[in-house]
Every structure is written in C-alpha cells, then in structure tokens.
Amino acid sequence: MSFVKRQCSRPIQGAGVGLRSCHYSYILQHRPPIPWFEALSDNYMVDGGPALHYLDVVREHYPMVLHGVGLSLGSTDPLSQEYLNKLRTLVHRVNPSWVSDHLCWISVKGHYFHDLLPLPYTKEVIQHVADRIRQVQDCLGLPILIENVSSYFEYNKNEMTEWEFVNTVAEKADCFILLDINNIYVSAMNHHFDPQTYVRSIDCERVKQFHLAGFSDKRRFLFDSHGEMIHQPVWDLYQVALRRFGPIPTLIEWDENIPKFPILQAEAEKAQSIMNEMMESIRCN
C-alpha cells in the first residue's frame, strides 16, 4: 500500500514549537497551551541523562514529532546503520506523529559537515535519494517527511527546478513533504525565482507539515539563521501555502539566540491566528 494514502495514527493540529533544552523548565512549570512539540532527534540519541528524561516528561503532556539532520539522505556514502538504529530506538520511545529529515547531504567518505548541503536537481540524484528514503522507511516501518532546504548556490548540472525535484523525489520514494516556508523564501531571494510559484507547484497530497523561522538579511543574500522573528514576506508566503494546502500543522523554529519561551509561543499563536483566519475566509467563499 502506498504511504500517501496512509493517515498518521496520531494526528497533530495547529501551530507547534520546536523543543529546546533551555525551555524544559518553563514548559513543565507552565504547561503552555502549545498543541504539539517538535524534538530534534539527533539531540536525544544518547544513553540516558537529563535530555532524555525531559523529552519523556514533555512527551507525557504533548504530542510530538521528531526532526533530524543526520540521515544524510543525499550522500553517496552508505546510510549509517548506527544512526538508523538509534533513530528507530528513539521512534519507539517517543511514538511521534511524524519523523522528518532534510532533502540534502551532510557527509561524504565518512566526513560529516553538519550543514545542509544542496543536491543537484538531476534524474540520477532523484533515483539515488528516493532509494535511500525507501531504505529508511523500511527500517523505521513508517513513512518519513523530507524537508526542502535553503541554499546559497545552485548547480550547473541542475536539470529541473527545485520544486520539480522535491515532488519527484517524494513521489518515487513514496514519502511526505515537510514544506519549510522560510527556506523557500530564502532560496527564492538568493536564486531569483518566484516563491509563490514554488508553493503553487508542490504536490498537495504529500505536504504534512510546515516550518516557519526567521532569516537574517545579509544585504547581498539571505541567511537561514533561525535566529530572528519571522519576517513579513514569510508570513505572506505562509498565507499562500495555507490557501493551497489547507490547515497544515505548522512549526515555529528558533535555533540561534533563542528567546524566552513566551516569544516563541506568541509566534505560534500568530501562525495559529493566520491559519484560523485563512480557513474561515476559505469557508466563507
């Protein structure tokens, strides 16, 4: 059976927030009305200790998804079996609504860069990545979501647009898409394409999650820093995405200069409010 017809057994709704260690105490003390959290898988691939303990406790109170950076789906190295085993163990522990990683590569010849490097958009790469995603899904026994990354260069070898690449990989791998609205905007500005065309071209059936974050304006390019409030053009693009895909669960990400939790909560509430208004306006029309 194709994964695309399969529904998530533990659905999430609304605007969630990325779980960060500096907020554990606040979350457990105040139990903020956040509909779900996203935990970074790589931070919890450990033997024990406070990080796993807090993950378990937060999980008791909130639905959760797992999001990783270490699969290196586009690498030409073999998939790391050790990493996959750890991810599978974590999936069993957390029972997440979704598991996601990035459509990129982060390693070659055993060297890890820990940065999300773009792939060439070619037929050869589509087949390569789709095969690896299927291996991951077979190992985990569930479909994963792949996220579009922001990028600072494009390859001469590209044979198609990024959105055609994302759609075709997802189709061939039979996986879902985590659409990062901020990444689309950053890449669109860096590579001079229309971000709305990107959003309007992505396969509706496969999008299961949105990411929103703040970029840094470096004047000659935009940098995907996850270190600022979400910028207005990204909110605008989010509305375009909501109109096309519906009320897709949306995550607020913040990784640099992480503010106090209420700031993130306010961003999540803003996303929720836009989602509600957009759905209401679609219903009225």
């Binding site: 290196s72 070619t122 390019f221």
Partner: protein, 260 residues
C-alpha cells in the same frame, strides 16, 4: 556516479581550503555573489557549527582564554579533527589532548585539566541512567563469594586528579556564581569524581584515600584482591560504606566463574 565526484570535490574544497577548488566549476554563476563567495558561505557555516559544538562543551575554557583565543584553538582543532559521526556528541573528545599540546596555551598549565573536567561533565550528562544499588542481593552473597565481588562506579563517571584547583576554577566560571574570592594556583590540587545523580551532574571533591580506592575499583579488581592491594585494609573497610552511601560505588557484580 557524478554525484559522488561532486561531493568529493566539496570535501576537498573544505579540507584543502584552496583559493580556486575544482568544486567551483559546479556552481552556477549568479549575481550578486561570486562562486567563491557562495562556497565560502558553506565553509563558514560548517566551521561555525563545529565551533559552536566545542563552545557548548568547553564554555569554561572559553571564559578563561577569551573568545578570540578560543576561536583560534577551535579553528586549528577543526582543521586537524574532521567530524566522523552524524551527531556532535563526541566531536570534542580529543580537544583536551589538543589543548594540552597547544603551545600558545602553555602559559595556562591548568587549562587542559579544566578541559578534562568539562569533557567529564559532558560525558556524565549523557550517561545511561543508573539503577539503584541492589543491597538485598549484596547482603545475600555468601562469605565464600564475598572476595569475588567487583564493585562498579556510576555509569559514565570520571575520576579526575589535578595539581590545580580546577573545581574551584570551574565553579568561579559558572553563570550562577557570585563568589569573587581569589583562587591561587598553588592552593592545592583536586581529587574529583564527576558523575550523574538524579538527572544532575555532580562534581564531588574526594580526599586522596577515597580517590585511590575508587581508582582501584574502576579497574574492576575483585574485593579480595582489593584488600590485599590496600596497605591498610582497615582503611578500605572503613571507607567502603561511605563510598556506597555517597553513591560513588553504584553497582557490583560477582563473576559467573566464581559463582560456580
């Protein structure tokens, strides 16, 4: 496979830091940034990520030497030490050794020991959760088997000895510390056990006797041999209850061979 060639070109560009690496030919020309600038963005981002991992683990070291000097050490370490794991937990495991041999840091002879303490803290933070000592089973061990008991330290713990007051130096450089008392390097060294208890990392000061017994226990020596090795068996017998009570001895085993 063309993709592999492209990825190896990127690796070479990162490792060699050449002015015109062959990887540049893969990058599409596009204003306003040159191909070199676009590649450099990734090179800086990768270095920044690895540097941040070191800064998080070795924050006291950075406070002691200042941001500029720490960055210099970090860049040199990154040049010499590629990351070989999908996660960053172990990336700084050779930084202690690097700092000990980093000539410009030799004016701070305690620095590598402080780093050793920080790495031990990092290890303990992610250590497996420790089961409670099974006193019932311990009490039931027959007299004939008591000499075969092998005690264990808490999982992920580290015993550390330094000629410098590294625990006080560490404390003085924590964000919550408001004690401004002067630390003299010659005020005496430190015997420490760094371990995790109840989801909290503890740095416990030991006396020399306690440290030596724990160091011997760490070598998985049977209780009988431990008594023979210890010059003052009375001292060992007197100290064991305290070591257990403090949680520094956290578990035990009796070898299958001896159980037969």
């Amino acid at each position: 496979m063309q993709l592999e060639e492209l990825q190896l070109d990127f690796l070479q560009a990162f490792l060699e830091q050449e002015a015109m690496p062959s990887f540049l030919t893969n990058i599409r020309k596009s204003q306003p940034l040159s191909e070199q600038e676009r590649l450099a963005l990734y090179q800086e981002s990768i270095t920044g990520c690895l540097t941040n991992a070191l800064r998080e683990t070795y924050s006291v070291c950075e406070k002691l030497v200042g941001e500029k000097f720490f960055m210099r050490m970090a860049y040199e370490y990154i040049d010499k030490t590629p990351s070989i794991s999908p996660t960053l937990f172990n990336y700084g495991h050779r930084f202690v050794e690097f700092v000990a041999n980093f000539e410009p840091a030799s004016v701070l002879p305690y620095l590598s020991d402080v780093c050793r303490l920080e790495w031990a803290w990092h290890r303990a933070y992610y250590a497996p959760d420790q089961q409670t000592m099974d006193f019932n089973t311990l009490a039931k061990i027959s007299n004939t088997l008591q000499n075969e008991i092998i005690f264990k330290l808490p999982a992920g713990s580290t015993l550390l000895k330094s000629n410098y007051p590294i625990h006080r130096i560490w404390n003085a450089n924590q964000d919550v510390n408001d004690n401004e008392s002067v630390i003299h390097l010659k005020e005496g060294g430190a015997y420490l056990l760094i371990w995790q208890k109840n989801m909290d990392v503890k740095i416990d000061d030991l006396n020399e006797d306690e440290w030596q017994i724990l160091e011997t226990i760490e070598k998985k020596i049977k209780l009988g041999d431990l008594c023979k090795q210890n010059e003052s068996t009375m001292n060992l017998i007197a100290l064991l209850p305290k070591l257990v009570e403090c949680g520094w001895i956290a578990d035990f085993e009796v070898t299958t061979e001896s159980e037969k």
